[in-house]
Symmetry: C2
Subunit: 121 residues, 2 copies
DNA sequence: TTCAATTGTTAGTATATTCTAACTTCCATT
DNA sequence: AATGGAAGTTAGAATATACTAACAATTGAA
């Protein structure tokens, strides 16, 4: 099973929540993403089975090393792309939405090229 | 039915092929996209039912005004984004692949902002 | 004219993703 | 102890998208 956009998004969300909350639970992810908890439950099962997260008996979710690697990569892209779009004058909500889609589809090469050549702030 | 990424891609492909070929048929689209003709057949049926294309008795496909509008918008994005990425040093094949994904997901606002602020060539 | 290739269609399959609905657990408060 | 809420799970539905398989129609060449 390849990692898909949806999985990347869940991993990124877990990373972000782990910086805001003492522990991250399934229901926190559902609230953050505006998804139903059943959807998150199934998604967490997949992430667990593919070793991107571990879940304690209390339902606390932690990223594994490989999960963290993906989450951090995606989150870095998100921060860079949304700041850049905002800097170009795009409304911050729209900038965030677009970054949220671009971050998953862009190649490593293109992202690095943009990061290298585009300067702002 | 909203227009989705897949439909946008078919419309763009029809536009591109119409500039290269005397007439565009279903099989030409299939060849160009490396899809099976059954997939294209179903897709063309949808585009027809939603008034984005017309198809003659001979199977010749033409964009309607609304189809052309979308196709041209997407194709303009494609050309701009792929040239820009190439200009940044990204391999042309990768630049084209990335442009092909970005062109569908980016908002009008962000595209206009990038086009306005990013200069090259 | 008969056979094969080309084109197009339909039906059914597969995958990714999220949803609704119906439980189950567990815990706390009355 | 009983009730109710919060969290999590499972089964089944829905949608978008492309695929395989089987078949129909047309055309060109042997």
């Amino acid at each position: 099973m390849n990692i898909h956009e949806s999985a990347e998004n869940y991993l990124e969300t877990i990373l972000i929540l782990s910086q805001k909350l003492p522990v991250v639970r399934s229901v926190d992810v559902a609230t953050e993403l505006n998804f139903k908890k059943s959807s998150v439950s199934v998604a967490m099962k997949n992430l667990r089975e593919n070793n991107y997260i571990t879940v304690t008996n209390d339902g606390w979710i932690y990223l594994t090393d490989s999960g963290k690697e993906i989450a951090e990569m995606i989150y870095e892209r998100h921060k860079f792309l949304s700041s850049w779009l905002e800097h170009l004058g795009v409304d911050s909500k729209i900038a965030a939405e677009d970054a949220c889609k671009m971050e998953h589809i862009i190649s490593k090469d293109s992202f690095e090229a943009i990061k290298k050549h585009v300067t702002f702030k």
